[in-house]
């Protein structure tokens, strides 16, 4: 049996990789993928805790997170499409509309 700590470490590493990606990437689509990766890392942590506490409530939380992630992906990609229609770029450095 793999220990709980191993799963938590793996989740933390994946979350950190996603966070680093959000700060280093300049492509809005890849930034969205990094956010999905962070959500997945949290899901892994929740499921690991759920298994080791022998309590299935965590599965329901992961189910809800997946729902929210799907809704977020649909709306976010629609925002990216309408941004691309207006500015013809997905580079976040070129999109500084609220900077004035």
């Amino acid at each position: 049996m793999v220990s709980l700590n191993a799963y938590l470490m793996l989740g933390a590493v994946l979350f950190s990789i996603g966070a680093v990606g959000v700060f280093t990437q300049r492509n809005a689509l890849i930034i969205y993928m990094c956010i999905e990766l962070m959500l997945n890392a949290v899901n892994l942590t929740i499921i690991a805790f759920s298994r080791f506490l022998n309590n299935m409530d965590g599965h329901v939380f992961v189910f809800m997170i997946m729902t929210v992630a799907a809704a977020e992906a649909a709306v976010g990609l629609a925002i990216i499409i309408s941004l691309f229609r207006n500015k013809a770029t997905v580079n976040v450095d070129d999109i500084n509309l609220s900077k004035g």
């Binding site: 793999v2 996603g18 689509l29 997945n40 299935m56 329901v60 809800m64 992630a69």
Partner: protein, 178 residues
């Protein structure tokens, strides 16, 4: 055996996540994110979360990533590439062989040690569809219904955001006519 599976899947997830973060091309990043999600689904199976593993593949690797790929190809931000060169085709061939080898070894692993994954039964219903569904429709009924309303709002919002404005398209049509 579980430790071996954990190491393989964990290293696969971390490596493909690193590849995604350091990549400049959106298509390659999306593909490596799909690999990460498959590895995570395998880890969910190790954690006896069978329904969540299936949902991970269907919802994340299936639905969300296909949406990402559609948007990437719709925006067409990649540089135009000509026909794939010789070494690209060779690389693709090697990749296909590697994927086949991985699947074969997986099947053999399960055959050798079938008791590694407990599929859940009446005595131990942890993580089965029935158990999670029962929890979802009794204790968590209200969040479930709210989630459905959230999805409806997301559908409406996505359509409104992504469609062309009616007056815009009408004015452009007028321009083209005049």
């Amino acid at each position: 055996m579980q430790l071996l599976m954990f190491s393989i899947l964990g290293f696969g997830a971390v490596l493909s996540a690193l590849f995604m973060v350091t990549n400049k091309k959106a298509i390659s990043a999306a593909m490596s994110l799909i690999v990460t999600m498959f590895c995570l689904a395998g880890l969910y199976v190790l954690l006896d979360a069978h329904l969540m593993a299936a949902l991970q593949i269907i919802v994340y690797a299936g639905a969300i990533m296909v949406l990402f790929l559609f948007v990437i190809m719709l925006l067409n931000v990649e540089e135009k590439e000509g026909r794939p060169e010789g070494h690209t085709i060779l690389l693709q061939f090697v990749a296909i062989l590697l994927v086949g080898l991985v699947f074969l070894s997986m099947v053999n692993l399960v055959k050798v040690d079938g008791s590694m994954f407990s599929l859940g039964d009446a005595a131990n219903p942890f993580g089965t569809t029935k158990a999670v569904g029962k929890l979802l429709f009794t204790e968590y009924l209200l969040p479930f219904e709210i989630a459905s309303v959230l999805l409806l709002a997301a559908i409406v919002g996505a359509v409104i955001l992504a469609k062309r404005r009616i007056d815009d398209s009408g004015s452009s049509e007028n321009h083209s006519e005049s």
